[in-house]
Symmetry: C2
Subunit: 123 residues, 2 copies
DNA sequence: TATTGTTATACTCTATAACTATA
DNA sequence: TATAGTTATAGAGTATAACAATA
């Protein structure tokens, strides 16, 4: 993260917006998922997932694979590069998760999704 | 707030999105402000403030008034109706501000701006 | 008939750049 | 010259509705 830079800006620098990072986080922790499953997990419409995956796929973060048994569905899979990246971010995010509310409040617009999930996980 | 409804959804029901509510909150606590001042407070470009005020004015939340001494600037002012509404929301927001991080984490996408400001104010 | 993901359409928030009016 | 707010343009996230392919 650059000096004087926001968490959101830091992510956005490489095309990784917060909602897109959230998708990567989900895939990293649950494995390949249908877009339907992602929509449910993100509490967002399926149409949105189309857009998010469209934003992640060209950059090489994820790939769309045909579902082996259901030909209606597609499986969104984390690429190896993205998986490595996710593992790296993990540490930084855990550090944030350990901070009291007042301290990460400034980041709240940026990593709220992640922090929230981590708090759930640690509870 | 309706049952099973998100904080964000609750605000959006009456055209009050989170960034717009944030503008009302600022006006409620600092009084009439120039768009420039709002842009600085919101950490957003002046162009955005134009859009936010455009969204609030037709609904009668705010009005644009000519600045008394600087004819380049416009003063954004809370209408009486909006001021009443802001006062009502205040109580609910203070209750949220008193909650530990884990509890309001679920609302974080919705009232993060407000909670953050309240934490700052209470610190 | 129900479900999966798409296209079509629309609204909001965000940004940079160029422009007008004023200071 | 510098500042306040605008228009122009663009990208991203969100939503509903209608549709094709498949279950």
């Amino acid at each position: 993260m650059l000096l004087g830079e926001d968490m959101t800006q830091s992510l956005a620098r490489d095309g990784l917006t917060v909602p897109r990072a959230h998708v990567l986080w989900l895939l990293h922790h649950t494995g390949p998922s249908t877009q339907r499953a992602l929509a449910a997990a993100l509490k967002v419409t399926p149409r949105n997932v189309t857009g998010l995956v469209d934003g992640l796929a060209p950059a090489g973060f994820v790939t769309r694979q045909p579902h082996p048994s259901d030909r209606r569905a597609t499986l969104v899979t984390l690429t190896e590069v993205a998986a490595m990246d996710a593992a790296h971010r993990e540490l930084a995010e855990l550090l944030i998760a350990g901070m009291p509310a007042a301290q990460y409040a400034g980041f709240v617009g940026g990593v709220a999704h992640v922090v929230e999930r981590l708090h759930e996980a640690l509870r």
